[in-house]
């Protein structure tokens, strides 16, 4: 690959604009394409682009391709069919989708409520104290499953909580594990940082003077919150919500380990289809639907946000 120096770049620009005669459209198109392809930015991005295509776009395309193959086939050389998607809606798979979406919504809402005051404190009272941030980030260095089993040991019948209360006070603690609330607890616990930090960034974007100005013009505490703080912190809130929603949508361990499969998440169905059921096309169809759902959400939200602006401030 010949790295173009400044001279060849200049040359390309002259080629592009300096043509006196007007060659046929096709020729001009090719010329523009070759000019574009010779830009250093494009050439420098080629290696990364190759890795991206081979490692990300490729498998994704394969999944989509498998999703239109006949059930229980292991090749991609069959005639395409939509039978897997029909199966999804005829069998009870929509239930798993519903649970995943429902739990993702619940977790996101709960996290919003929990994280606002914490984010507020983190960015305003403690001024992004290193120690506090570290304490909040540290759990991320431990595997999610290990942390969830920690909760299991704590909440288990005759576990740390139950055992301690029984021994010390003789209190009987009812079964805490293997239900929906404890599943949500696990999700809230695991995904808290993903809501907290974007939100703290959002809160730190509210100029103090705007808050004071609103107050000065007679706003009550709740009016400042509604009219100034929430809208100005909105980019951070949305990013946090998006992250947690998408992560919970694809999560599997919380429902398995803490929930004891009292609810089946969609990720669990996908895993079963690929492994136990040996039905790759069905698993692919489920994955494709999930990816579509997530993609629409992410693209829809991100198109309304200016990430560059958010991250370049302060």
């Amino acid at each position: 690959m010949n790295a173009p120096g400044p001279s060849s770049l200049t040359q390309a620009r002259i080629d592009d604009t300096g043509d006196a005669g007007t060659p046929p459209a096709r020729e001009r198109g090719l010329k523009a394409l070759s000019t574009w392809a010779r830009q250093p930015g494009f050439l420098l991005s080629l290696p990364a682009l190759a890795v991206f295509i081979a490692g990300f776009i490729g498998p994704l395309a394969l999944v989509v391709l498998y999703s239109v193959m006949p059930a229980r086939s292991f090749g991609v050389d069959n005639l395409p069919t939509l039978e897997n998607f029909v199966t999804i809606f005829q069998d009870s798979y929509y239930l798993s989708f519903a649970w995943s979406i429902g739990l993702a919504l619940a977790t996101t809402v709960i996290l919003m409520l929990i994280c606002w005051p914490v984010a507020y404190g983190l960015s305003r009272v403690f001024r992004r104290s290193m120690i506090l941030t570290l304490l909040l980030v540290l759990p991320l260095f431990v595997s999610e499953n290990v942390r969830l089993f920690g909760w299991v040991l704590t909440l288990l019948n005759h576990g740390i909580l139950d055992g301690s209360l029984r021994t010390l006070f003789g209190w009987e603690v009812p079964e805490l594990l293997y239900n929906v609330p404890v599943t949500i607890l696990g999700m809230v616990y695991v995904y808290l940082p993903f809501m907290l930090f974007p939100m703290a960034l959002g809160v730190s974007m509210i100029p103090e003077s705007c808050r004071e100005a609103a107050f000065d013009m007679g706003a009550t505490r709740s009016q400042v919150f509604r009219e100034v703080e929430i809208p100005l912190a909105m980019p951070g809130i949305l990013i946090g919500a998006l992250l947690t929603f998408v992560l919970v949508l694809g999560s599997i361990s919380e429902a398995k380990i803490l929930g004891g499969q009292s609810v089946i998440m969609i990720a669990h169905d996908i895993e079963t289809a690929f492994t136990y059921a040996q039905n790759w096309p069905l698993g692919s169809a489920l994955s494709t639907l999930l990816i579509l759902l997530t993609g629409v959400l992410v693209i829809g939200l991100l198109s309304k946000l200016n990430l560059d602006k958010l991250l370049s401030r302060k």
């Binding site: 003077s209 705007c210 100005a213 000065d216 013009m217 009016q223 009219e227 809208p231």
Partner: protein, 350 residues
């Protein structure tokens, strides 16, 4: 224009051991344009924060229309401030910004819009600005929007925290005059903070000069210019010639460093102190002109200030600053005679 709307009695503010302002006694009359001037660190921002209710005084009382408001928070005071940063809401349009105080009061949408457009007009912004984003407005337009928003609040006292300091010279001059004009038309009390005495002079009915947390002098622009209370006030206005002097007799003062003699300002009770002569009060004299004191000197430097010109003239051991209209027939190295009349100088004990 007679009733006292704002009164400070022995107001002090400490931050830990640091004394931000102390022993402030002040009263502002209804309908007055009052300006607090001081260099940075003089405590003027602390003052205005206490006046709008964002900080509480550590001691003393703040009275508005005769009522003590020390413990009344900012959102329940009939005052409004235009911030240095303007604090316009970036997520709201120009119209929504102006309507904000009305919206808080639950005013109907239709009335709010009518009022907002009225205010836009009053501030020389066309109706099309109503739906513009704040980010689409220039610096001067933002100033006007911020002022419109404050006027929409309809405060009894309007405070300004150096809102013009970020603007370029010409725009600042225009807005200074506009602000004065609006104040006169609305009849509202304006309390303005700035570090520029020049800006204060243009707009104010009265000026209070602050230094290190205390008020040094309160007076009309005229009084402050002609009778500065001390050297600090005199210098604050711009460069001055200062001579350390002691009295020789009722007519003459003697320079304690050079022994030169200067005419004493009439009726001054001071016997020893600093004589201050402004550069524009010293005249370059032609052969047939006379002044109460006359000196011979040589022009050392010449600085053109636009319509005026400033000379640094060496008179024996001293370098004097002389400012005059541009177009004088003198240049660097020329010999000149200069002088001033006794009543053009100020003598103060320091």
């Amino acid at each position: 224009m007679s009733e006292t709307i704002l009164e400070l009695k022995g107001v002090e503010k400490y931050f830990g051991d640091f004394v931000a302002v102390e022993r402030i006694n002040l009263s502002v009359k209804d309908g007055e344009f009052f300006t607090l001037v001081g260099p940075s660190g003089s405590g003027k921002t602390t003052m205005i924060r206490m006046l709008v209710g964002m900080d509480k005084p550590s001691r003393g009382d703040i009275l508005m229309s005769g009522e003590r408001v020390n413990d009344v928070p900012a959102n329940r005071r009939p005052t409004c401030m235009v911030f240095q940063s303007l604090a316009l809401f970036p997520h709201k349009s120009v119209g929504e910004n102006i309507e904000f105080p009305l919206k808080l009061r639950g005013e109907a949408k239709h009335n709010r819009k009518t009022r907002a457009i009225e205010l836009l007009e009053q501030l020389h912004l066309s109706e099309s600005y109503y739906s513009k984003k704040v980010s689409e407005c220039s610096g001067g337009e933002r100033q006007r929007v911020a002022l419109a928003r404050a006027l929409a609040f309809d405060p009894q006292i309007l405070f300004f925290d150096e809102p013009l300091s970020a603007l370029d010279y010409r725009l600042r001059k225009t807005l200074e005059k506009e602000l004065k004009d609006i104040q006169r038309r609305t009849g509202k009390t304006f309390v303005y903070i700035t570090h520029s005495l020049e800006e204060a002079m243009v707009m104010s009915d009265r000026i209070a000069i602050m230094r290190k947390g205390r008020i040094v002098q309160v007076g009309t622009p005229d009084e402050i210019y002609n009778n500065p209370a001390n050297g600090f006030v005199a210098q604050f206005m711009g460069e001055v010639n200062e001579f350390r002097v002691s009295r020789k007799d009722s007519q003459w003062l003697e320079d304690t460093e050079t022994g030169a003699q200067y005419p004493a300002p009439p009726d001054s009770p001071v016997d020893e102190g600093v004589l201050i002569v402004r550069p524009e009060r010293i005249r370059l004299l032609s052969a047939d002109e006379k002044a109460d004191s006359t000196f011979e000197g040589v022009v050392e430097h010449q600085y053109v200030l636009g319509s005026r010109v400033q000379y640094q003239v060496r008179v024996k051991e001293r370098a004097l600053l002389v400012e005059t209209m541009i177009g004088q027939p003198f240049g660097v190295g020329d010999s000149v005679s200069l002088g001033w009349d006794a009543d053009q100088s100020v003598l103060m004990s320091e």
